[in-house]
Amino acid sequence: MLLNKHGETAENENIIIKDVDGLTLHDDQILPYAYWLTQKAEIKQKLNRVSIWLDSHDDIEALSDDLSSIDLIALNFPKFGDGRAFTMAHLLQDKFGFKGEIRAIGHPIADQAQFLFRCGVDSIDIPAAQDPAIWVKEATRMSRFYQRSAENITANSKY
């Protein structure tokens, strides 16, 4: 189940690929970062829609030249306490001008949803075992903010 910043849910059509052995490429796949780095040309050629996922220690700088050919970047939370994805989302959007979709995957918790959206994440892949209702509630929990959100938007923010 996917969640957006308005607290709306949608079915998740994507498959996160961890093991690339014998892989047949497909538009719905979210491919590993390392695989993308080595197979860029083939992937670009075969797919209409390119999606890749990064782990929290992966170097997003190395992606900066390719961003225009990528449609979706998923940022993995190996555990919820690893907060690098917040900065990675910010940098992707604000520094590198990534225009595609940014998604959080792995093990975030519901209470991080709004923080993620405010850092520029577009969708969250709600972890399977969790109750989507809580995520829906938390997505719009606060309507008062001391900071501007991604893209410098001031809606409901104090400054």
Binding site: S56, F80, G81, D82, G83, R84, F86, T87, M88, H90, L91, D94, K95, I109, D111, Q112, Q114, F115, L116, R118, C119, D131, I134, K137, E138, R141, M142, S143, R144, F145, Y146, Q147, R148, S149, N152, K158, Y159
Partner: protein, 580 residues
Amino acid sequence: MSLQQSIQQAAQKEYSPTAPAIAPKNVQMYKYDQFDDEFITQRIDQLRSQINRRLAGELSEDEFKPLRLQNGVYLQLHAYMLRLAIPYGQLNSTQMRALAYIARKYDKGFGHFTTRQNIQYNWPALSDIPEILEDLQKVEMHAIQTSGNCIRNTTSDPFAGAAADELTDPRPWCEIIRQWSTLHPEFAFLPRKFKIAVNAAEQDRAAILYHDVALQIIENDQGEMGFKVYVGGGQGRTPVIAKLVREFLEPQYLLSYLDAILRTYNMLGRRDNLYKARIKITVNETGVEEFSRLVELEWNRIKDTGFNLPEEQKQTIFKHFELPEFELHQYDAEKFESKKLKNNGFDYFVKNNTFAHKQDGYTIVSISLKPHGGIPGDISADQMDLVAQLADDYSLSEIRATHRQNLVLPHVKLDDLFILWQKLTKAKLAAGNIGLLTDIIACPGLDYCALANARSIPIAQMIAEHFDDMKKLNDLGDITLNISGCINACAHHHVANIGILGVDKKGEESYQVTLGGSSRSDADIGKIVGPGFSGDEIVGAIETITNVYLAGRTNNDETFLAYYRRAGQTPFKEALYNVA
């Protein structure tokens, strides 16, 4: 009894019937607007739902932990503990009465002021916590980010806005940082906790160089105000003095520069080892040149496009801190001097517990929470109510908490000092030992803390009992002594002139002594003097150390630290361990 009734009653009971029921209006401090109030309401709702989910088993303790921590809820040896933020240590009298109310209703009648200008309650029930936070909201307080791997309460000079030796009032800048850091979406799950301190005075009374970011407000050659920025200080297992990363930061760039530091740390900080996750380690491992290069790179990217507080809104925040109207009055110096002559206790109190105010005829008064044999930092609900009343009567309703776990009345007329001292004496709050050997910082230690190796509070009490002669204490003069019950260094033993660290030696408590630390602008980390002492020996060892100093100093003006820096460890080693 409701919070309002309690505050009203406390304010009227024994004292002036005109005392306000809720937030005094005249205090120069940040006052919530509607936005701030709504923000707190939403945040409390969120915590209530998290607590309910935890109680219903929908959140594991592991998942609940970072959430409760970001709201100041700790799990301790015996119970949950609640830590409330006192932003940069400032309180008004109504807030103090609310703290007393909470101590009575939800705790065992006590509160504990911490080394980070906060207050802790040791016995609240988890299910009561949303209610406590709602009471706090009524007096414009909260517990947000008093714990957890996020940006913590900003600390500052407890004499801010009053001290004669300050360049400017640092509090508006602290408030700007408070708001910027409150639920900052990008920096709520950092590698480790993050603490920012601001100082604008000549003396450093906030130990800023032991913070993750230290901001010293300075004036450049053109007479413009700005920040000298240090990064990577910290205590805990590995005490490190913060390193200079920028000589002069124009104030309008404060927030974008902080964003750049935090962003760099969030990406670089280690997440593989809890003990290596603080920014002090990041800076040491990356090298300060490289780290500041990365910060500057990021800052240059965002300084003009990222967020900096607009000037107009900055002015709005500054307005909250405009100086109060001081009464111009002629104080009677002769009468004052004769009171000192007649009263030893008052004489010591004036000497040690007051500090020069920027306004003639006024003084800054420190209230020691280290009474003879007491628990450092502890205060009873009745004492809190009394301090609130004294603040109303003698200090324009203002109170401060200090990082040495004491309280301050920042705006006291010299003419009122004697009667104030008398009232404090009655409440056992008049110990004239600020800055002296018995102004001890001690952590909870084995009495409350699951991580402790040794007792801290009882050692502090034993030392205070032993050194109970005010004449001798004054003769020893300016000395800091801090006691931690384990290597986590909650009591900052490394940075005390005399540090005591409890260690476990084959199942026995042992106390290791460090000498020569300082948390002021001449910051230094103490060095271990030799093998540890048992609980029975430690007081004797401190006596020996002070005797070495008294015998060796060139004159009374040479402080303990100055003597140590001149003489080194040798004379102490010789006396402590009988080595020739």
